[in-house]
Symmetry: C2
Subunit: 181 residues, 2 copies
């Protein structure tokens, strides 16, 4: 192993599913996100103050998170390289959506699952902010899930961001199950 204090982009945590954050009628892909709590169900997304979505997240008290399959990577790349300051991305790219039921944001119809989140916290760390939402409603395509309402690797190919404009997905043949004692 080599070691260095030249930390650079430290992209070794990838690949990571892309979370498309929706707020008002705006959308932004985020590669930095994580669950934060199981009960209550909390989800966190890390956003730079440079983003238009950051301004909306500061002003509003809710947002949505949407997950797409790998075949939508071209679309998500376009969403990520344009700003809601300049265009309405949902209209410009013909993205089908319905308004969330309980919060203020879009639920994207070509995604396989989505969360409706009520913002409960916003904290600044370094050059980004962590926004945390309580998940109050989930949307999912039942036909892509197994009986336990989990993603079925044979039916869904999650879009994973691999860093530096690269997208990839899973190989369903590699699924391994190691039950806990």
């Amino acid at each position: 192993m080599k070691s260095t204090t030249d930390i650079g982009k430290f992209y070794y945590f990838f690949p990571q599913a892309v979370a498309v954050v929706g707020i008002d009628e705006n959308v932004m892909p985020a590669a930095w996100h994580t669950p934060i709590s199981a009960e209550p169900p909390l989800y966190g997304v890390v956003v730079s103050p440079k983003r238009h979505t950051f301004e909306l997240l500061q002003k509003r008290n809710s947002f949505t998170i949407n997950f797409f399959e790998h075949d939508q990577a071209h679309l998500v790349a376009k969403i990520g390289s344009t700003s809601g300051r300049d265009i309405n991305k949902l209209k410009e790219f013909n993205i089908k959506f319905v308004p969330a039921e309980k919060v203020n944001g879009p639920i994207l119809q070509d995604s396989y699952a989505g969360y409706e989140c009520e913002k409960i916290a916003a904290s600044e760390y370094g050059d980004h902010f962590l926004f945390i939402g309580k998940i109050v409603l989930i949307h999912y395509k039942e036909e892509l899930m197994n009986s336990g309402r989990l993603l079925d690797e044979k039916k869904v190919s999650p879009m994973l961001y691999f860093g530096q404009d690269r997208y990839i997905t899973i190989d369903p043949q590699t699924l391994s199950v190691f039950k806990r004692k």
Copy 2:
């Protein structure tokens, strides 16, 4: 799309690379983690107070993060189903490691990359805590990286957790690149 307020485990954010957190001579796999800032480079890991690693993270001021390939999933499952309260997992499972150079924790020799982190924050959200560390040194296997020091999808098969004891990896054939304008 179906929708429900029965949030359950909301496992639609998976798959996700597994971060093996090291502290003292203890290790724990975490599926909930994310970068938090680019400059300074900050990394966050979400840990339940039930874990032995939680107690160590509260007491100590540093930790390591280690990333493994998919063929080590059986080992990581064992690390995840045992507690450092009962055994020394590094010895019990013959895990090769060297002490971190700048912090207090193990760098695992069979991982493809690792971070040495100085703890800078710990925040409670719901039933978990978010611990944030500043990355002060990175380790990586140069032979698995491309010229930009990024993971080469043809050479490395990151271990991804898929929820509910399931592990999976990428299909290198599916790599797509969509350059930003």
